[in-house]
């Protein structure tokens, strides 16, 4: 029987971004970000914070990056909608409203060129499962980002590993991923199991 695909959670950020997340982002980047919108800055903060916690400076190229956001870059979208009522929008406003630009910024900041996507489901656990199915034996960097208060940039870094000798239980809800007690993730036929 083939061994179950198993990942170790090597780093995670908490769901709600801390009040000083902008300062932390500047510290990670070594400079103030330029021409990125709020949503992208928040995504970068969480991804870089997670990488730092995992002790990684560069993301391996075979890692899958998945970003999920239900509201996306809503402040930039509202700005572009307003601008577009009377004239052409400002180019940077339009760029900042596009999820693909967040992915591009992540690619640059993580010094990584790989499979990155913006995927949505109402059930965050379904996205973890889909990403795991796509990853196969590769690693994952998964983020849930919402810019509206309370700003959220919750990320998980998962590295493929050999299954530990401990029992796995089916994951019931996404909050279990935030629990520091959850350190392993396994892909089963019917979903994700954790240990």
């Amino acid at each position: 029987m083939a061994e179950m695909l198993t990942w170790r959670i090597t780093a995670r950020t908490s769901a709600v971004a801390p009040a000083d997340w902008r300062e932390r982002l500047v510290a990670h980047l070594g400079q103030r970000p330029r021409r990125l919108g709020l949503f992208t800055e928040l995504a970068l903060y969480g991804a870089l914070e997670t990488m730092a916690e995992a002790g990684e400076k560069v993301l391996p190229e075979d890692t899958l990056v998945r970003v999920c956001s239900l509201r996306g870059a809503v402040s930039a979208i509202i700005q572009v909608l307003e601008q577009a009522r009377s004239e052409l929008p400002m180019p940077f406003s339009f760029l900042q409203s596009q999820p693909s630009q967040t992915l591009a910024a992540l690619s640059s900041a993580l010094k990584w060129q790989g499979d990155g996507s913006y995927v949505l489901s109402r059930d965050p656990l379904a996205l973890v499962t889909l990403a795991a199915r796509q990853a196969g034996q590769r690693g994952l960097l998964l983020g849930w980002v919402e810019e509206e208060a309370p700003a959220r940039s919750q990320w998980l870094r998962l590295i493929p590993d050999t299954a530990p000798n401990k029992p796995f239980v089916p994951a019931q809800h996404f909050a279990q991923m935030s629990d520091p007690q959850t350190t392993w993730l396994q892909l089963h036929g019917d979903g994700i199991a954790i240990a």
């Binding site: 909608l81 004239e87 992915l103 790989g114 499979d115 995927v119 796509q134």
Partner: protein, 354 residues
Amino acid sequence: MTPLYLHGRSLISALGADLQQAVTALAAGGVTPQRIQLPGGTEWPFFSIAYPETQWRVRAEALLRSAIAQAGVAERCELPLFIASSSLQIGATETEEQAPAGDYYNFAEEVAAWLGWHGPVYLISTACTSAMHALLAAAAHIRSGAADEAVVLGVELSNRYTLAGFAAMQLLSPTSPRPLGTTRDGLVLGEAVAALHLSRHPSRWCLRGGSNLLDGSDPTGASPATVSRLCHQALQNSGLAMSDIDLIKAQAAGSPVNDLNEIRGLTALFGTLPPLTTLKAAIGHTLGASGAAEIALLLECLEKGVWPRSTYPLDPEAGTVLTSKMPTKARHILAIILGFGGGYSAVALEDCNG
């Protein structure tokens, strides 16, 4: 890698209400884009679907229901559905007075309600590469054993938001799309709804594999080196060699720089290129739907023996590879979509009758 197969497919585009109309229109020389005026007085060509309903949501529902029915999956609502779109429901939102309420996923839920869909629904939005990402996600879903079949639905419908944004970025041609042409001067956007039914069960067209790459070094441009790397990975993941490829469906949207960079990247990898085609002069750049839309149209063209023709002078460096006749052999096809935001996607298809 487990082979997967494309069964039903559909396309509603400026070329017509179904694939039969599309190839008939192509055989007759294609269609001319309409012109849309934006606030501020600028006017741009746009490949619109000829469906007169003015209420965005009513129109969207009718078009999506038709695309799903044409792909033969209207009664398969239990299957996983992968919706691919760049602009989602912004066409409806922009007509409303108040700020956007709800969230992006409301669009997926709205689509599921229109279609009576009760299988799992995923929404993928990676700009122009959305449908390619959706296709490869659906393939991974099936290969993992989670399902035997899945449906990819590319949706890109009329909205001024995207048109104005691309106009502001100076990415649009003011006249017509001329992919790989000497006088190419930008993209022309278009509408499309396209569905692909992917299955483990054998049929004529096999999805061998593919690859997605994100390169943030130039968020609005294509890098030749990344194009080479993308295609190399896609072929490797598909178990194919460069010499196996009989036809390339390029991105080639009409961009002065990116068209050339794409050809340079392909040439660097392949050396001598196999016959190459582009469909964006026929239906425009349909952004998030383009992967599904162009695969559906290309396969229909190959089955029906109809081939898109360019009617403008071709770039001496980039355009000479564009084939004006259907290739005599097209067993293995590499389909490429490059996207806004540094997205690169390619899939390899095989004609099992070839």
